[in-house]
Amino acid sequence: MKNLLNKKNLVSLVLLVIIFFVFDYLIKARILTPYYRTVLYWMGIYIILSLGLNIIIGITGQLSLGHAGFMSIGAYSAAVVLASNPTITGLFIGMGVGIVLTMIVSFIVAMPTLRLKGDYLAIATLGVGEIIRIVILNMTITNGASGISNIKMLMSWPLLFGFVVLTIFLTNNFKQSAIGRACIAIKEDEIAAEAMGINTTKYKVMAFMFGAVLASVAGSLFATTYYVVKPETFGVNTSINILIIVVFGGMGSLSGSIISTIFIGFVNMALQPYAEMRLISYALVLIIVMIFRPQGLMGAKEVALNVLPDFKSFFRKKEKSS
């Protein structure tokens, strides 16, 4: 612990502070118009989502297509609590409720389904996502198909920034920890990992629940950013959008997910008037990336580690000392 304040960590801390105040200034000075602020919020929320999915797909190698389902649990929990308590405390309570619900649901889902291999798991999680959506569609507290609207807007740059940094910190530590290494071993070869004494089910469930909880947190932020939550917002397409981001950035590369989210955020913004062309080009990109570079653009590499050695700890702010 004594090296906690080493040079690298200080550099990253300074960088984070600079990023925070630059954007804070830009928003306060109204250089970033509300439109660009929405883009910024979108990027932040999707960074949390894609990092969560990357933990499941990229690190542990379990293809999950139910990410939007867990996102909807967080979103609806926040929306319901915010309706009666429209304060920042309400948001945190809602988020907490969402996290607890997601942990329960994802545990129940993960225990049996994670015994399945590859593509079966993908279909099973797809089914789970759909079941969550149908249940939400038919409950009264969630107001059925019309969803919950007029959610109190509490999203702000400090809030977003805090959660994104926290997520990066947690996921990166997860990846570096013994748990993360066990997960990577499972991804590489499940039978070999088992032979090395890794309790594969336990680690797969842990990774799955961690990713699901992150999705739930992102869902809560989503609800308070966009005022409205509807069941159809959290369909399969949303899960696939997150998957595209993760695949594009590289499965197993956390910094890849962050970069690809930011990149796709800008592309979305630029292609706003051509919504259909945008979706088609994403599908094409997904196919082409899979054919020519199945490991994703960055593979499992982290940009901060190889290209910019000095910025190493930018993506791992307070890594525990060796």
């Binding site: 293809l63 590859g118 079966y120 279909i123 079941i131 696939i240 259909e276 088609i280 599908a283 899979m290």
Partner: protein
């Protein structure tokens, strides 16, 4: 009792459609171990081709069926050659993600070309009812049921009695050994895709006639249900897909009839998860030990 028989008949007619789609899933899975995620969208494509054939070219039901099957088979071949063939050697996950990409591409491509609006499928089968002891049987239901059964018999004939079918079965068992026996593996896989896509197109036309509405995202729910059917019967096994299709159709109509229409899809997906947990190899499947 009459109501129960009525539900059974409804279930059998929609079940035969699921069975047709499930056959495509199961054949492709049997031969290259890929869940063709885009199969539901190939089914949607078939429905659109059928609609164009009927409205623009004024074809009758059977001519439209044959045209749609042929065009969609070609479409399936193109997809296989362009998207899946380069991935024969890569990981299963990569192939599955590609399939998701293809699915996304077909959906959004159709939306771009045909528009997002819902089309009404032209109703070319006369709206006639037969009363059999108080049970109403629609002519359309009979057409759907018997067309599906005939198509399944043709498929069974191709797979069991022809040289092509023998090649398909041998590739499914062992690819390398088939090559040594002089089977052209690539062509066999392509033809399997073509047959699966043709069956999906037939199912697309029938769903169009049955539910009237067709739209670019219509393939998702029937596709997923047909997949459940294929898993139910034992994926990779052709009779399994037929049994599974009918079973899922019956379960769905019975849940809708006696329980809640709102939860019928959730029940089907729940069954999927249950089967995967209890007996992943399906009803007719055998347990295969994993080799290290």
């Amino acid at each position: 009792m009459t109501q129960f028989i009525q539900q059974l008949i409804n279930g059998l007619s929609i079940g035969s459609v699921y069975a047709l789609i499930a056959l495509g899933y199961t054949m492709v899975y049997g031969i290259i171990k890929l869940i063709n995620f885009a199969h539901g969208d190939i089914f949607m494509f078939g429905a659109y081709v059928g609609m164009v054939a009927i409205t623009t070219f004024k074809l009758n039901f059977f001519a439209a069926l044959i045209v749609a099957m042929a065009v969609t088979a070609l479409f399936g071949v193109i997809i296989e050659r362009v998207a899946y063939k380069p991935l024969r050697k890569s990981s299963k996950t990569a192939a599955l993600i590609t399939a998701i990409g293809v699915s996304f591409l077909i959906q959004n491509g159709t939306q771009l070309i045909m528009g997002a609006n819902i089309y009404a499928f032209p109703q070319i089968i006369a709206n006639q009812y037969f009363d059999v002891y108080g049970v109403r049987i629609n002519l359309l239901q009979l057409v759907i049921f018997f067309t599906s059964i005939i198509l399944m018999f043709i498929l069974q004939f191709i797979v069991k009695k022809t040289k092509l079918g023998r090649a398909m079965r041998s590739v499914a068992v062992d690819k390398d050994a088939s090559v040594l026996m002089g089977v052209n593996v690539d062509n066999t896989i392509t033809i399997t895709f073509a047959i699966g896509s043709a069956l999906a197109a037939a199912a697309g036309i029938m769903v169009g006639l049955y539910y009237i509405k067709i739209y670019p995202f219509m393939g998702f729910a029937p596709g997923l249900k047909a997949f459940v059917a294929a898993v139910f019967g034992g994926i990779g096994i052709i009779p399994g897909a037929m049994i599974g299709g009918f079973a899922i159709g019956l379960i769905e109509t019975l849940v809708a009839g006696y329980g809640s229409t709102l939860y019928k899809d959730a029940v089907v997906y729940g069954i999927l998860i249950l089967i995967l947990i209890v007996k992943p190899s399906g009803l007719l499947g055998k347990n295969v030990k994993e080799k290290v």
